[in-house]
Symmetry: C2
Subunit: 450 residues, 2 copies
């Protein structure tokens, strides 16, 4: 609320042309808040506000702006301003930005960059999307394994300013092979004369990832080992970059969003909701809606096969939605827990029988309780005889047991055959549980009521 | 795979009694991997392996063990060993551990702790669950605002070893009020004689959280501002602790898990799946299953009201599951995107009309395509006349439009009235969409087919 009021006051300053005052207020803010303010103001003011910022602050703010404002600024500023901006940005931020903007902007940016920066950016742009190479930065502290702690500290004090993090130093040999990681804290606490080689972590395998490793695997490693940065190496184990924790946090949120989308039958989107066009949104949704609608032909056929019975016995049809919904909900509960457990590494394939046994007991508990309450509920509100109530209740128990069993089996099976549990399990479970629930229900009804 | 083989070899070393060899191999591993190994071996070997580790490594490993192994160790080791362990652990790790174990273990641990540690732990245990106070640590670097950079660095080199992070220093006045944050990198790059007061970030408001702030809000702040640690202050703005990024990452995953659970109609669990008992699992699931089953009385009543029509017109009943599933899926797609967007701050309440308009256009696109394909599908596989096919298709279009509209409205409405969008929207959407879909379908059928 406070921030909203402040932003309104800044806008008034713009309208009143009090730019000096605005500048004095803005430079007191956190970089992220300045970027938030610029992303919210009217388009015609974006450039104005960006330009009153001191150069170094402007360069930092730029990385946090939305793509729209970034594009607008890049199109409007002079070549020398743009040159300064590109050289000041961290390589990973520059690459992030260039991956989002139109080709003519990319060309303009690359044309003003220094040859080294241009080479770096081009190399980074070539890594496949979502690979470690595409999210890493090459601004890290590298120490040769021959130097001492004192030399290392003075090296950092002279060269650290441009590095994205100085809190982990990477020790390399003369061939740039990654030999070990040296946390700055250990360096600071060490004697000046200690050789870096004796101080570094040199576990049998230094924790690192390849450039082509999927970003999700990188995030898992950082999370598991509580790392502030993950080093990235090429095939010959030469250090090429690092991925810092702020990017890891973004990757974790992106991967979670992707899992949410998959489990809600959506194809993952590239952009945030508000920035995604209507056609893309529709395309991401229609695939599963269509597949599941067509596969419902199957449940339709089952009902058609029992149409005479449904017409003859009052009250049978009315229970179809309740049975299907309860089965679907029960299956979804289980599959969500299992998919999440697999994603976080808390459940492994070899736990399958333990999980299945657990689910069967949970299903028996939940199913029995649901069946009992349903029986009472039907006595109160439904027409029809006790046999019908009993058949609906028993069907419900069977549906819950089946749904829970399939709900834990499918995700684990998906993992075994190297498919994505989140992608495969959700849609299939609905279809299978719907069909089987109806078959159980109708078969029981035909056996006992006809 | 490699790790699995290594673990098997270590187990063989245990069986063969080659403990010296085992120790030499284990101490070369990362702390997290040693803990993983101990968590996986047989119970009777846990203490044996823990005890062969050098004291300092053992203390670090302990924080990463599962609760079961921790309990076993605490029960078996001597008072002096336990004292060392407790004093070596970071306060936040000790508190995490004590929150999970039985009361007699807590008593044993507190009885051997030093008075200061005991006071710290007791104070931390009193903060409400999931509050900033309950997850913070008090091992941070505090600098008085009167010292110089040179003094600060030598202070850190002498006292930094026990701090959970030294990469951010917190500048306080004589009353312990938080005045600013000083990243270590800036300190290192500064002149020895510069006063700390001139070097620190002193944005108008230093970014900090209160002890009672919800941990989710803390994670949001860390994510937004790319912080390595978030300072925690009491009501008088006195610094009481920090929350470090490794804990922030865990909080993010926990909050995501909670959202997954809520959206799958589960009450959030405290523990991982495999550690949760069958009764707890059943209790977490039965609530929503029961509510939704009972609320299905409503859809049942609608069907009963149209029972004669369903018996008279062939093919109407068979389409009920398909219509309900498609409506439910379409609604879920939308509500998931909106709930996720709200959680990440990408969608705000004031975007409602923009979102609704977008959803209506998406619904029109998806719904029309689904309706058209459904018409063709029914021509191929269904009995009944073209009027029936047309009515089913039009009902599907209406259901999709309604589902998308309610799917974006409910989560945003929940946010407006300060309810949890994830908790409220999921279950209500299913019930409402089911009922409305059936009403649209049956009303159209009665109007045109009877």
């Amino acid at each position: 609320m406070e921030k909203k009021l402040a932003f309104e006051r800044y806008e008034e300053l713009i309208e009143a042309g009090k730019l000096k005052e605005l500048k004095d207020e803005l430079v007191e803010l956190n970089i992220v808040d300045i970027a938030e303010f610029i992303s919210e103001i009217e388009d015609r003011h974006v450039l104005l506000v960006f330009r009153i910022l001191p150069k170094d602050i402007a360069a930092e703010v730029f990385a946090y702006l939305d793509t729209e404002s970034q594009t607008q600024i890049v199109q409007a500023i002079s070549e020398s301003e743009l040159h300064y901006l590109v050289e000041e940005m961290y390589t990973d931020d520059a690459v992030d930005f260039l991956e989002e903007v139109p080709a003519n902007i990319v060309r303009r940016v690359l044309s003003v960059a220094s040859p080294e920066t241009r080479a770096d950016i081009n190399r980074f742009l070539e890594y496949p999307e979502n690979s470690a190479g595409s999210v890493m930065t090459n601004e890290m502290v590298e120490l040769h394994d021959t130097v001492t702690a004192g030399d290392a500290i003075s090296f950092i004090r002279h060269h650290g300013v441009d590095k994205e993090t100085i809190y982990n130093c990477y020790v390399i040999d003369s061939q740039r092979h990654l030999e070990g990681v040296l946390p700055l804290r250990r360096l600071l606490l060490a004697q000046d004369s200690s050789p870096v080689r004796d101080l570094m972590d040199d576990d049998r395998q230094v924790i690192s990832v390849g450039t082509l490793e999927d970003q999700e695997a990188v995030a898992d490693i950082a999370r598991k080992y509580d790392l502030l940065a993950v080093p990235v190496v090429d095939r010959e184990n030469r250090l090429v970059g690092i991925i810092t924790i702020d990017d890891i946090v973004d990757i974790i949120e992106d991967e979670n969003t992707e899992d949410f989308e998959k489990m809600a039958l959506l194809q993952p989107a590239e952009d945030t909701y508000l920035k995604t066009g209507v056609f893309t949104l529709a395309r991401n949704r229609i695939v599963w809606l269509m597949i599941l609608m067509v596969s419902a032909t199957f449940t339709g056929k089952i009902i058609t096969g029992f149409e005479n019975m449904l017409a003859a016995v009052a009250g049978l049809t009315a229970c179809i939605p309740m049975l299907m919904d309860t089965g679907g909900n029960a299956g979804n509960q289980t599959s969500t827990l299992i998919i999440r457990g697999l994603a976080l590494g808390e459940i492994r394939v070899r736990d399958y029988f333990r999980v299945l046994f657990k689910e069967l007991r949970v299903a028996l508990l939940c199913g029995t309780l649901l069946a009992a309450v349903n029986f009472l509920r039907m006595m109160l509100v439904s027409e029809g005889g006790y046999e019908t109530f009993l058949i609906v209740s028993v069907s419900m128990l069977c549906a819950v047991i089946f749904a829970k069993a399939i709900g834990c089996t499918l995700p684990i099976f998906a993992r075994v055959v190297h498919l994505d549990p989140a992608l495969m399990a959700g849609p299939m479970i609905t279809t299978i549980v719907d069909g089987v629930t109806l078959l159980i229900y109708f078969s029981l009804a035909r056996a006992f009521l006809m």
